[in-house]
């Protein structure tokens, strides 16, 4: 095995989730030699791939916290970045629906909380307007607080875009590289023992998500412990998409956080999440109790869901800690940054977190000299449903017939898109990676029609599933 870190990097970022990749593409704008390492075989495989896929405004954050500030900043940055790179986003807005007088009574406080977070555009709407906007809503809703700027986003394309930009700017991406220990090679260089050899770097950024406390302890920290909170979700068939226009958020109460129903950028409907503290940091299994409770809640919120087919079920783990706020610290003396406890807001806040961390690193002594020349943003393959897909693009198909050859029928993914993903700068390592890049096999048939063909295309590209 070759030693991937024979040279000494300026910065080694541990963790290639949405936060780690965001930090990598942010640091790549400076004259730094960066390594981005992840234990998994792909970017964005942990919490980043299995969440509610909402681009939050941060209206409901706790005012005055770092999370509130970085969420608000990150959300604004990501909206611009998504537009520039082709990350699917839909500005659906959200409705916090009150079903009980208690919930209705808490809407003014939620609006005041939003105001204190710097968010002004929310609006109270009555039951009449609510049902006019969401006619499929179940009976009994009393009113809602409208948050017009809440949006839905593709959680898979986002870290992939960050990683693609980083790799394009020279960041070395080391996948399948699990950090097992740290030692000091000298006063200036950290030596990271990994499953793929030694990686050396002057600075280390810990963005290891569910493993961030383990890495933090290697650097002498003991300020927090990851307490994974599992969220199960159900994805309904695209034929259910007409049942709603906006994200339907629950009003949090003392007793329960409730579940949301939201459209997805792939044209499905998402129901969830549950919230359950688990001890196993890799236990993303769904449970009978979890799925049953979601189905019951879904039928109350949007009764029409009961008649639709379920396309997928999944669970993700939020990297919560015993603390309410993010755990972000930079130790200049140790040349170490900890970026942890991002919980469930990492996708929306990622670019804000990256900007903040880069600033802290600069203050702590990391030399931040901007690269000359313009920044090259990647243009990501569009896998959303609202815009034009390749199979709908006559001029694209005229230039290359492979975009007219649909191989995944439920999601209408063309052979050209599969081919492009396999040849992309950050290619998939397995069929799951191909699914996240193209949507192939993600549809209602779950592979009945297409899995054999898509698997063959993958195998032909030289990467065995």
């Amino acid at each position: 095995m070759t030693d991937p870190g024979a040279s000494v990097a300026d910065v080694v970022i541990v963790g290639a989730g949405v936060v780690g990749t965001a930090i990598a593409r942010t640091l790549a704008r400076y004259r730094l030699d960066c390594v981005l390492a992840d234990a998994a075989c792909d970017v964005g495989t942990g919490t980043s791939k299995a969440n509610t896929a909402i681009l939050h405004t941060g209206f409901d954050a706790k005012p005055g916290t770092l999370e509130s500030r970085l969420l608000s900043r990150g959300s604004a940055l990501l909206r611009e970045y998504a537009a520039a790179t082709g990350i699917p986003v839909e500005y659906t807005g959200a409705l916090l629906v009150a079903w009980t007088p208690e919930q209705e009574a808490s809407l003014p406080a939620l609006a005041e909380n939003a105001r204190r977070n710097g968010y002004q555009a929310m609006r109270r709407i009555g039951a009449g307007e609510l049902y006019a906007r969401e006619p499929a809503l179940g009976p009994g809703a009393l009113g809602a607080l409208e948050i017009p700027d809440e949006a839905i986003i593709c959680p898979w394309t986002t870290p992939l875009a960050f990683a693609t930009e980083a790799v394009g700017a020279g960041v070395r991406l080391l996948l399948g590289t699990c950090v097992t220990g740290v030692s000091a090679a000298s006063d200036e260089v950290h030596e990271l023992a990994t499953t793929r050899g030694v990686v050396r770097g002057r600075w280390v950024v810990n963005a290891a998500g569910l493993g961030s406390d383990v890495i933090d302890r290697m650097f002498g920290g003991d300020g927090f412990t990851i307490r994974p909170r599992r969220g199960e979700l159900i994805v309904f068939d695209k034929l259910a998409r007409t049942l709603l226009r906006s994200i339907l958020l629950p009003v949090p109460t003392a007793r329960s956080k409730g579940v949301l129903v939201a459209p997805t950028v792939y044209g499905n409907v998402l129901l969830g999440p549950t919230a359950e503290d688990v001890s196993d940091r890799s236990d993303t299994a769904t449970t009978a109790a979890g799925l049953d409770s979601l189905m019951a809640a879904g039928r109350r919120i949007l009764p029409g869901l009961g008649d639709e087919e379920v396309t997928a079920t999944y669970a993700g783990l939020r990297a919560a800690t015993e603390h309410a706020d993010y755990q972000i610290r930079v130790d200049g003396a140790r040349r170490y940054a900890c970026v942890a406890g991002i919980r469930s807001t990492g996708l929306s806040a990622s670019l804000g977190i990256a900007e903040h961390v880069a600033g802290l690193l600069g203050e702590a002594g990391l030399p931040l000299r901007p690269r000359s020349g313009a920044v090259a943003l990647p243009r990501m393959p569009y896998i959303g449903e609202a815009g034009q897909r390749p199979y709908q693009d006559a001029s694209l198909i005229a230039s290359d017939g492979a975009y007219g050859q649909i191989v995944c029928h439920c999601e209408r993914v063309s052979r050209g898109e599969v081919r492009d993903a396999l040849a992309s700068p950050v290619p998939p390592a397995d069929l799951g990676g191909l699914r996240r890049r193209t949507r192939a096999m993600n549809g209602r048939c779950q592979g009945f029609f297409c899995a054999a063909t898509v698997s063959r295309l993958f195998a032909e590209a030289g990467r065995r599933p």
């Binding site: 695209k238 034929l239 890799s282 993303t284 299994a285 769904t286 449970t287 009978a288 979890g290 799925l291 189905m295 087919e309 379920v310 396309t311 997928a312 079920t313 999944y314 199979y391 709908q392 006559a394 198909i397 005229a398 017939g401 492979a402 007219g404 050859q405 649909i406 029928h409 439920c410 209408r412 069929l431 209602r444 048939c445 779950q446 592979g447 009945f448 029609f449 899995a451 054999a452 063909t453 698997s455 063959r456 599933p465």
Partner: protein, 416 residues
């Protein structure tokens, strides 16, 4: 481009319809199929038994698929492969405008009449809400057959089949062919639902038992499948069964996306578009046939359904289509559904019989030798001979009572 009839789906129903339409003198018939090869499910179903009722021969699925495709082309239908119909809307000057995508580009085809024959699929594990991990190695019979017969894949190790219908035994044979050792077929029902001979064959030749009254409760395994937790529905006891492949069979659902996007009414039982005995849907000029309206019958039954639709379409194009009223036909518990979903009765004339002169039904319960009673507004129209109800197995109800349906009356109800 304009055609008299556009057939969406080139499986047994669509291809047979196209052949029949041409034989009856319909000028231009276009079959659009999204796969690279025509024939539908039989393309990858290697067992023998295809063609019995429609071609009066017995052959393997792939041979049958080729025979149907060759017949359609020989009859003068155009069969376009690798072509997905993405939208079907009323045309500017009558008829329909169908948008289709293929490697040739995006094209809009005008059609006087559209026949939907988009078939069906098995419910995957996710739609059955089976919890647990999401490892590789979990699939439906459709995926299994394509991997093994079209992709020459080997599946070493142990396999478990969920379901005990005909298709489940077919999956067992496919798994054995691919090198898997099939541990068992599991079904939540108290009995298997296929022929006794299949079960005996499974037990004797492959030594595969059928575990009845058994449910799969959980899938286990992070990257690769490790096994499943199964529960005995009688005792409630659960146990872990190690396996490397898990195949979900049957539990068919029509592939009805285009039907829904076209705005057709769906039957709550079949989940396909509602059709009357002429196989007309709720939209004038749109017909539906095959396993889209009865998921899933054998391929030859689907083919004959396509042929039936072709005759009605040819008559409609020739102006001979009768002015009709439709009287709904409903299946009542323990029956799950009946197809067709309505009787078409010519005004002042006779009722049109369904394909093969019979309705097809499904039951959700086992019943031994019951008679099905057909009633309208409390009046008994007819009774079947003794039939056995087995979930997943077809029950046929001959349509001898059609003449007694009152065109002005309420829905016809069928129940044991």
């Amino acid at each position: 481009m304009n055609v008299d009839v556009l057939v969406v789906g080139g499986g047994p129903a669509g291809l047979s319809a196209a052949t029949e339409l041409r034989r009856l003198g319909v000028g231009s018939v276009l079959v659009a199929d999204r796969e690279a090869e025509a024939g539908g499910i039989p393309r990858h179903s290697w067992h023998i038994g295809y063609g019995l009722r429609d071609l009066h021969r017995v052959m393997t699925g792939p041979a049958y698929a080729r025979a149907l495709a060759d017949a359609a082309v020989a009859a003068g239908a155009e069969v376009r492969l690798g072509t997905t119909v993405t939208c079907c809307a009323p045309g500017a000057s009558g008829g329909f405008a169908a948008t289709m995508t293929s490697a040739r580009g995006i094209e809009t085809v005008g059609a006087g009449i559209v026949l939907l024959a988009t078939g069906c699929r098995e419910r995957p594990r996710t739609a059955r809400l089976i919890p647990g991990d999401r490892p590789a190695g979990v699939m439906t019979t459709g995926e299994l057959q394509q991997r093994v017969y079209l992709g020459d894949e080997r599946l070493p190790g142990r396999a478990l089949v969920v379901g005990a219908e005909h298709v489940s035994f077919s999956a067992m044979v496919t798994l054995a062919h691919a090198g898997a050792r099939v541990v068992a077929l599991v079904t939540e029902y108290e009995r298997q639902q296929s022929y006794a001979a299949f079960r005996a064959g499974a037990a004797l030749r492959w030594r595969v038992p059928v575990w009845t009254s058994t449910a799969v409760r959980r899938v286990d395994g992070r990257e690769r499948l490790a096994g499943v937790e199964v529960a005995d529905l009688g005792t409630g006891a659960s146990r872990f069964v190690p396996c490397d492949t898990l195949v979900f069979t049957a539990d068919w659902i029509p592939d009805h996306e285009l039907a829904r996007h076209t705005g057709l009414d769906l039957d709550p039982g079949t989940r396909g578009p509602t059709v009357d005995t002429l196989l007309r849907t709720s939209a004038a000029g749109v017909f539906a046939a095959g396993n889209l309206v009865h998921a899933a019958e054998t391929a030859d039954i689907a083919a004959l359904s396509g042929r039936h639709a072709a005759r009605q379409i040819a008559a409609a194009l020739g102006g001979a289509g009768p002015a009709t009223v439709s009287v709904p036909v409903r299946a009542e518990p323990p029956l799950r559904w009946i197809s067709p979903n309505a009787v078409a009765i010519a005004v002042g004339g006779r009722a049109v019989p369904p394909p093969l002169g019979r309705f097809v039904l499904r039951s959700q319960e086992f019943r031994r030798l019951v008679r099905l009673e057909v009633r309208q507004d409390g009046r008994v129209l007819g009774r079947s001979g003794p039939v056995r109800l087995i979930p997943g197995r077809p029950v046929y109800l001959s349509a001898g009572w059609l003449a007694r349906v009152d065109p002005a009356g309420g829905p016809v109800r069928v129940a044991p």
